[in-house]
Amino acid sequence: MGNFVVWMVWVVAAFACLGSGAAVVSFSNPYYSALALIGNLGSLAVLYLLLSAEFVAAAQVLVYAGAVMVMFLFVIAYLGRHADAPWAGGPSWQALGAVAAAGSLMVEIVVVIGLKASGRLSDAPDISAGFGSPYEVGKLFLTDHLLAFEITSIVLLAAAVGGVVLGSHARGEEEAA
């Protein structure tokens, strides 16, 4: 019974994930694309929960679906109708090349993973109850991966400074406008 429920949750989350991913790329209105991406991130969080990555799922909903997507929606609202991006009639060989490149990327990923780990991927090892909990993740962040933790803070500081610099009116910009 529990097995069946897990499968049902997985199937719903997987199809929501794939469908909303395709919707993000294909909508012409960026507002709908951003809303579809929120759905995509939410269904990915469900998949993370099924992989017993509780803390990452919570961070995904808080950081991505919460903070980042709100910023996206603000900018799209700020741009107004300038943000509309209908499918432009570019040269068709460009579109064909893009489809071929994306398809070959997918085939490449599938082949590499299949060659490398096909037989051993079906059975996941038993894990302790604390796997993926904030306690375990925080302990790793502050011991083994302290450097990554500190570098993340520097990256975020640089991004904040960059955002302020880009957002403030640069000198000479008023004449150009």
Binding site: V25, L41, A88
Partner: protein, 101 residues
């Protein structure tokens, strides 16, 4: 026991490919950024799947670092888009070609 880990990897491959398609096909920088997020999330799903496969938490740590970098990238990208819009330029990645060599 739920679905095998291979299926999660199939989803992550599909997400990465469809994100790459959006990055290459669409010409609005906003949708290019949104597609880039899909690519990053496909990579994150693969990282977390392999973390579960090995029973080690390091993949989840990497996924969290990817999330932080993605947030930084969105700040800078959206700042650039707003700056481009303020200069009354078209929001079209094909027309922003001043730096082309």
């Amino acid at each position: 026991m739920g679905p095998a880990l291979t299926w999660y990897l199939a989803i992550s491959a599909f997400l990465f490919a469809i994100g790459a398609l959006g990055v290459m096909l669409r010409r609005s920088p906003l949708i290019v950024l949104l597609s880039l997020e899909i690519m990053l999330n496909g990579a994150n799903l693969a990282l977390i799947t392999f973390s579960r496969h090995h029973g080690e938490l390091d993949g989840q740590i990497f996924a969290l670092a990817v999330m932080a970098v993605a947030a930084a990238e969105v700040v800078v990208g959206l700042g650039l888009i707003v700056a481009v819009h303020r200069r009354r330029l078209d929001l079209d990645v094909d027309k922003l070609s001043t730096l082309r060599g």
